[in-house]
Amino acid sequence: MSTVTQMRTAVSTRTKTAVHLTDIITGAFSAIIATLGLSRNYLDKYWDVIERGLMTWIDEGSLKDVCLEFGDPDNPEAIFEIPVEYRFTGVGNVDFVASRARLLRLMAKIEKVPAETSYRVVVTHHGSYTTVSGWSSTNSANRSGLSSYNLGSLGAGPDARASMNYLTRRS
């Protein structure tokens, strides 16, 4: 009986962690795009697809990282990379934390990109993963010549946590 209860708790917190981190990630992308003064058309058009994909893949533990890439993938202006780390205990501290205010303060430090710069969301996975409609295969942007800065934690749930790296041409 107690085993059944524990399993239900684990499933519940894993799904809640997926919703929580997805919210934090889409919120971070929204903040970045607003800070850069870019059109939110892409984000609006694909919000449901992005949300559904991230929730599915975090829930199953297959999402390795999700990137917001700006400009030509062969020669990008900047990349925001969000690695996701998992804890498979299912009995961890049931605490959902976010660093939204801190992220907003960091936005003051990011480099502007040219107006009308295009952007896209790209994910990578650990091993096999569930296919989610609306997503298609592509190659990650070329990172040569970019400097990487660790911007720290974005947030965490009982079963996973997300942080952010900022890759820019600023030296």
Binding site: K16, T17, V19, H20, T22, D23, I24, T26, G27, S30, A31, A34, T35, G37, R40, L43, D44, W47, D48, E51, M55, D95, F96, V97, A98, R100, A101, L104, M107, G157
Partner: protein, 165 residues
Amino acid sequence: MSSVRVRTIKGSPERSASATWDEIARMVQETLVPAASIDDDDVSVALGHLAGVGRTLIATGVLADEPVVLTAPPLHVEIYVSLGNDALKGEERLGKVPGAGTASEWKLYVPDPVPYSAQVASAVAQHDALYAGAAPTPVVGAAATQTAVSVDADALRRISGSHHS
């Protein structure tokens, strides 16, 4: 008599930003249904213009601190979204907020903090009932018979507790 109501909808981890926005939209729509002179289709069109920026204001945590405000005199409804551990606490009241049956007009005020000001301005510009920024404080009449303000239990709970994520 002005009627001030406060509702707090649970966001993540209970709901995604999209599902939370859907609850906000449903609350506004169902609240205005009893108002015979307000066109339900017009309300739906207005809310459709806010879907994109609404999800952003939820996911970025803005609505945890600043409410979307529906005014349909005499009703004034402040809608917040709780996030993180706060969203796991207590009960929530979804759907119709009573008190708009006699309303002949409605307005929806959407918070517009930096860096989202331009996006909110662009969204609210698409419908006359949408406004950017804080709503005016509900008007309370001078005469004693006109100064009664009803505040619901959610409002009192909000005053006594934190609503930060």
